[in-house]
């Protein structure tokens, strides 16, 4: 078998895997859209302002309503020491 043909078959296999992931992604998207109504009710019913991703520090739990200097407000001489602080940019407004 020609090397180009073997390579094409391998490429087709990879594309088939990507296609399967794409179809599964569409199904997951549908399931996620079904829960969107609950998220909307929770946000507006409680007046939420942030995603609950990192709960270790005030400023990463609620970056939208925190000051850019909040990481340094814990005590005099405090430095930003929480690991999640590395993932988030300070809010810009």
């Amino acid at each position: 078998m020609r090397p180009a043909l073997v390579f094409s078959l391998f490429l087709c296999l990879l594309l088939a895997l990507d296609g399967a992931l794409f179809v599964d992604g569409l199904n997951r998207r549908k399931a996620e859209d079904a829960t969107l109504a609950q998220l909307e009710v929770a946000t507006s019913g409680l007046g939420l302002t942030d995603l609950a991703v990192a709960t270790e520090a005030r400023y990463t739990r609620h970056p939208a309503v925190s000051d850019a200097v909040a990481p340094f407000m814990d005590h005099p001489g405090a430095i930003e020491h929480f690991p999640t602080g590395a993932f988030w940019l300070p809010p810009q407004r």
Partner: protein, 398 residues
């Protein structure tokens, strides 16, 4: 003519594949390193994009204006009397007071978010029961009853009981009864939440009567948010005014390449490419020069040799791109970005189950291609051209 050219390219592709196979250990190691770099970049792009997307979807329903009192650069309790000062501003539909704070559990080292408000005053407040997996929201006259998020239930080990106690600032205990639990599908918002009535929150934090932590302001016409926010700032100078567009904007910029972790991903990718490009640009090995010389002696033209090198680069970088991006998708969707979780959630004790669903667009794919495949193509074809233009006899040492 086109048929002949196609056949020629297929033959060259065959030769390029055989050449890669001959140096399979070297080709495989380049492919794996390359795929790992693309995996890192694509995973970061997918995680941040999925989180920004989710924020954009759900934060469209956040209060139009949130007011917080600032003193000495810090947030402090806001007097309820400020509500009366807002009464004169035309366009404000409703002002809802709220007590909103954190409770640090010193035994579990967990941080809970506590919210106290009269939910019936909030928009959609009457429909909040639909966001619960079990139970119901406490009515304003039900004291000591709370609705909790999934991780709070797990952390407090509330499987077989419905009551728990928190310490007030004076270290006396306040007991709560769980009246409901938020649905798991709202975890991304409610995972660490404990929602209660305003008097209960006031009692827990010992906040004096007549004060709350913030005021949620709802306006009649969303187009007037900025105008009303400006009027509020003028009427209440010591108050921080946060508008819905500002909150939404925060989440569109908060995850970015300029964050510490994003920079590390980007810099490690760039460093890998600099090493790769330096290795390639420093010239071909004597063996490779010899191979090119033999091909030229056999009648190959410079353009054919360049085509071989081009195909080799396309195969290695294209395959690495596909493998890296597929692996990144699997990592983010099926393993909930488990490699990034130690940084994304840090020392958080309460961790939501992230169900991330990235929506890769052509622009995102192009960004990753631009950072990876294109520099690699450039780094490999240029030295090949330099070498291919060398006369065959000198390369063979003749």
């Amino acid at each position: 003519m086109a048929q002949t050219n196609f056949e020629k390219q297929i033959n060259i592709l065959d030769y390029a594949l055989s050449s890669l196979w001959r140096h399979r250990m070297k080709s495989l190691s380049i492919l794996l390193v390359f795929a790992a770099v693309i995996f890192l970049l694509a995973s970061f792009q997918m995680v941040t994009q999925a989180l920004s997307d989710k924020a954009k979807q759900v934060l469209a329903y956040t209060p139009e204006i949130t007011l917080q009192k600032m003193s000495a650069g810090r947030q402090e309790a806001i007097p309820l009397a400020y509500k009366d000062k807002l009464a004169g501003i035309f366009g404000i539909r409703r002002v809802v007071p709220r007590i909103w704070g954190y409770y640090f559990d010193e035994v579990l080292l967990a941080n809970y978010t506590v919210m106290g408000m009269d939910v019936e005053e909030m928009p959609e407040g009457s429909r909040l029961d639909t966001a619960l997996a079990s139970g119901k929201m406490p009515t304003p006259d039900e004291q000591g009853r709370v609705v909790i998020g999934h991780s709070v239930k797990k952390a407090l080990d509330l499987e077989g009981r419905t009551t728990f106690s928190f310490f007030r600032p004076d270290l006396s205990l306040k007991t709560f009864t769980v009246s409901g639990e938020f649905s798991r599908s709202t975890d991304i918002l409610t995972n660490d939440l404990i929602v209660m009535n305003l008097p209960d929150a006031r009692d827990l934090y010992s906040i004096p009567a007549g004060k709350v932590t913030d005021l949620c302001v709802y306006v009649a016409n969303p187009k007037e948010i900025d105008t009303i926010a400006r009027k509020i700032s003028e009427a209440l100078p010591g108050v921080r005014v946060l508008t819905r567009p500002q909150i939404q904007k925060t989440y569109q910029v908060v995850f970015g390449w300029r964050s510490g972790f994003g920079s590390i991903c980007l810099l490690s990718a760039l460093a890998a490419f600099v090493i790769l490009a330096w290795d390639k640009a420093s010239g071909l090995s004597p063996e490779e020069r010899r191979e090119i010389a033999i091909l030229k002696v056999l009648g190959w033209e410079t353009s054919d040799i360049l085509a071989v090198r081009f195909w080799e680069s396309v195969i290695v970088s294209g395959l690495a791109c596909m493998v890296g991006m597929t692996a990144a998708h699997i990592h983010v969707v099926y393993f909930a970005a488990s490699l990034f979780r130690p940084v994304l959630m840090g020392w958080s004790v309460l961790r939501p189950d992230l169900h991330l669903l990235p929506r890769m667009e052509a622009g995102d794919i192009l960004l990753i291609l631009a950072f990876t495949v294109i520099p690699y193509l450039a780094a490999t074809v240029i030295p090949a051209w330099r070498s291919a233009t060398v006369p065959a006899d000198s390369a063979l040492g003749g």
